[in-house]
């Protein structure tokens, strides 16, 4: 069998995509969505979409690259669903005061309610403490849409334009959400991790 014949054969049997690329697709989705069930779902959606679209597969890219390309959009659809729980297009609709992550940081005058504690040399402390575990817990404690955006931007290092385009939000919306996520995380680390290390002095 020639190699092109082999490729055609592979393309015509989607079950081999599942066998050969299922794990890779699942890992890609799991890393971004951090939820096994959602990751399984998007892998299924991806393969079904690929099945429908297989005539359009040009054969220039590898099957894996083609499938990952479809998966990327499916993952973004999932993000969009979660982030859209609150309308983002209208900043007035994002209730800043009601958001638990903004509560308490600033007085009405715009000053900090309390002086921020000195974290000293956090890098050195992070080596000793269970820092990453605290960080993960604090991230999980954020409102889901904030945590997702923050994960996508700061951990996956997805660029701003891609996020805004895929989520159909403005850069200003994104920055506001990221700011809230950062302050929420900061406050959580301050309360849990720093306190546990016996710091948190004024």
């Amino acid at each position: 069998m020639s190699s092109s014949g082999l490729d055609e054969h592979r393309l015509s049997s989607p079950e081999t995509w599942l066998d050969q690329h299922g794990d890779a697709l699942y890992r890609y989705a799991l890393l971004r969505l951090r939820d096994p069930h959602r990751a399984e779902d998007v892998v299924q959606e991806t393969l079904l979409a690929a099945l429908v679209a297989r005539e359009r597969f040009s054969g220039v890219a590898s099957v894996r690259t083609w499938l990952i390309g479809i998966l990327k959009h499916k993952v973004m659809d999932q993000f969009r669903l979660q982030v859209r729980e609150v309308p983002l297009d209208d900043p007035a609709q994002v209730p800043e005061r009601d958001d638990p992550t903004d509560e308490g940081d600033f007085a009405p005058s715009g000053s900090w309610r309390e002086r921020l504690s000195d974290w000293g040399n956090p890098e050195e402390m992070a080596e000793r403490g269970e820092f990453i575990a605290f960080l993960q817990r604090c991230l999980d404690g954020l409102p889901r849409r904030l945590a997702q955006l923050y994960w996508l931007r700061e951990v996956m290092e997805e660029d701003t334009e891609t996020i805004c385009e895929e989520m159909a939000i403005t850069p200003n919306n994104l920055w506001t959400m990221l700011h809230r996520a950062r302050l929420g995380l900061r406050r959580c680390l301050d309360r849990t991790w720093l306190n546990g290390l016996g710091h948190g002095g004024k």
Partner: protein, 88 residues
């Protein structure tokens, strides 16, 4: 005059975009006077660096994962059904 809240927005946004000269100057002036915002600046920078460790950890966890057998079989069935439909 920038408030601490304004300054916190600019500090966060400086990780997303280039601040204008005017914003940079306002922020620098505010930081010079405000110990809390100086601490915030250092804490945000630390958190930003820490995300790399989080990413490495998440990647090694994800790389060790396999598509669960039950999900695999469910997807296989869905693909067979889908194929059957596309042949009709």
């Amino acid at each position: 005059m920038l408030t601490c809240k304004d300054a916190s927005h600019l500090l966060s946004e400086s990780q997303e975009r280039q601040l204008s000269p005017r914003e940079r100057w306002g922020l620098r002036l505010h930081l010079w006077m405000c110990v809390s915002c100086r601490r915030l600046e250092r804490q945000l920078a630390f958190m930003h660096r820490a995300m790399r460790s989080l990413r490495r950890r998440a990647e090694s966890e994800a790389n060790a994962a396999e598509l669960p057998v039950a999900a695999r079989e469910r997807i296989r069935r869905a693909l067979r059904e889908g194929q059957g439909q596309s042949r009709d």
